[in-house]
């Protein structure tokens, strides 16, 4: 159909065709300009990582320095920490997040009362809609050393209080909990929409055959949402090198004492760039992240498209 129109228009002559198209180019212009400024100019900015940047001279005026910045970065022990933190947190988030969200979606789907189900769903989604800054205040209300709820409970029980924002060992758990708390509503809704799409006929047939609820979940629900689960899973593997800046910057309040367990690539880049104005190190880390990220996304997408064409990104 589209092809027919195209040739049809062309037959009427190029002139009319272009005249007709000009308004469409006008509509495209603001978006295209924005995309070039916001997405494509920074792609050229990657060259910063290979330069000894002098802000006064600009990117083009600054001398090249090859892989010097990367060498400096990977010499530091921080480089190992931030990569380990970024990847490990993501692995834990993916596993726990997927399992809990599927369990929650299955249970929510079992709730008979429509009103109750809607109330549960809206309230569990609520944390997802809140900014990370506000989340840091919520966390602070629990963990503040002097006025936090947990310390006052500990005091009440006659136990020693804990300087939460100075003690590293608790943070992997706190950050994981906060991540799940904020994100579970979102992924629960995604899995729920996949479960709701399953035809009731399957369950009807299973019930007639005397299948228990558990058998129905195991043999109908789980196999049928598998495509969604696998797609979500692989796409998050593709993003394993990215981290949620808000979670790792705001929630530990950028506390230096906690860096070795809370600092991810994104937080490191922010601190190096904005606190130390270190273009060399920060751009090396940031470019390393985007290139590895690109390779991972491409690989993940390739796998998704092999597994199920319609779920691939492109």
């Amino acid at each position: 159909m589209a092809k027919k129109t195209k040739t049809g228009v062309k037959k009427r002559g190029e002139k009319i065709y272009w005249k007709q198209m000009i308004p469409l180019y006008l509509l495209m212009l603001p978006g295209l300009t924005y995309m070039i400024c916001n997405n494509y100019l920074p792609m050229f900015g990657i060259s910063i990582a290979f330069k000894k940047l002098d802000v006064r001279k600009g990117i083009w005026g600054s001398p090249w320095c090859g892989f010097e910045n990367f060498k400096f970065l990977f010499k530091t022990s921080t480089a190992f920490d931030i990569i380990r933190n970024t990847v490990l947190y993501n692995v834990v988030f993916i596993i726990l997040g997927t399992v809990l969200a599927i369990a929650a979606a299955i249970l929510l789907n079992e709730v008979r009362s429509k009103v109750a189900s809607r109330i549960y769903q809206s309230l569990i989604l609520l944390p997802y809609l809140i900014s990370w800054v506000v989340v840091s205040y919520l966390v602070y209300a629990f963990f503040a050393a002097d006025t936090g709820l947990i310390n006052s409970v500990l005091k009440g029980l006659g136990l020693n209080t804990i300087q939460w924002y100075q003690e590293k060992r608790y943070w992997p758990f706190i950050l994981t909990f906060v991540h799940l708390w904020k994100g579970i509503g979102y992924s629960m809704i995604i899995y729920l929409s996949s479960i709701v799409g399953i035809s009731q006929d399957y369950y009807e047939a299973a019930r007639i055959d005397g299948a228990t609820k558990w058998q129905q979940i195991k043999n109908i629900t789980l196999p049928l949402i598998k495509p969604t689960v696998i797609t979500m899973f692989i796409l998050s593997i593709g993003r394993i090198f990215a981290s949620d800046f808000g979670l790792f910057y705001q929630v530990p309040k950028n506390s230096g004492a906690l860096y070795s367990v809370t600092q991810t690539i994104d937080v490191y880049v922010y601190n190096a760039l904005m606190q130390n104005s270190d273009y060399g190190m920060s751009s090396a880390a940031s470019v390393f992240q985007s290139i590895v990220g690109f390779i991972l996304v491409m690989t993940a997408n390739k796998i998704v498209s092999k597994y199920s064409r319609e779920n691939a990104l492109f």
Binding site: G31, P42, I59, L123, L125, S131, G246
Partner: protein, 298 residues
Amino acid sequence: MKGKETIRWQIYANAAMTVLTLLALIPFILLIIASFTDNQWATVNGFSFFPGKWSMEAYKYIAASWSTIGKSYLMTIIVTAAGTALSLVVTAAFAYSLSDTRLPGGRFVNFLCVFTMLFGGGIVASYYTWSQIFHIRNTIFALIFPGLLMNAFNVILVKNYFTFSVPASLKEAARIDGAGELKIFASIVLPLSVPILATIGLMTGLMYWNDWTNGLYYLNQRDGSKYYTIQLILNQMNENISYLSKNASQMAGVSVGSLPATTVRMAIAVVGVLPVLVIYPFLQKYFVKGITLGAVKE
């Protein structure tokens, strides 16, 4: 047997959902109670769900310093409204141009758009571009432009809606009647696309309301604080606290006096989150729709 099993599952499901719901709500409840706690009492006893002494002091403080907080509130509203409106116009226009398969070069631009989802220059390159090339630092544009104005995901959603949910016959009929593309876009396609525009508009609005990273990167405390939104006021208090605890001995730069009391900070957080909490019940089904739309790509 059957009935018993059903009842048992109802109990499981409702119990589990009640636990999750409470977990989601409790931190907000604590925050709100903390903001109504007497500061003196909180300093001695810490926050509690059942404070020994309630107080409106924190909110009186906010009312008294409304010149700062009210201004940041106004700034949040301006940025959210302007950003969302601009974002919708730019996204819809761009998506419409891409939805026309006859457009020469359209497929290439479409590829450029999809490619931005796969690869980016990274934070440092973006920062350099916006601050050194466009000199956006310490202007209100810093809160509207970088990163937030248009994204490939929304473009694809809107484009798909234009292609699959707006009847092609209507556009064709208008063309035969001699209507130009701009007229078709403005008076046929846009009015029929209100549902998708409302959905992505809502999500975009929420993104602008909640954003603090642009301010963190592009506004500094000295020259940019006049553009601080409520999120950035909250962030600034966080930064001042960590500055104080790092430099406890010197106390240079920030004096303890400039930092509001702990219950006041909680009250400012309540004020910052309140609009979302108030609006949410009315719009919750659109938020849910926005999420499922984003996930189930057609």
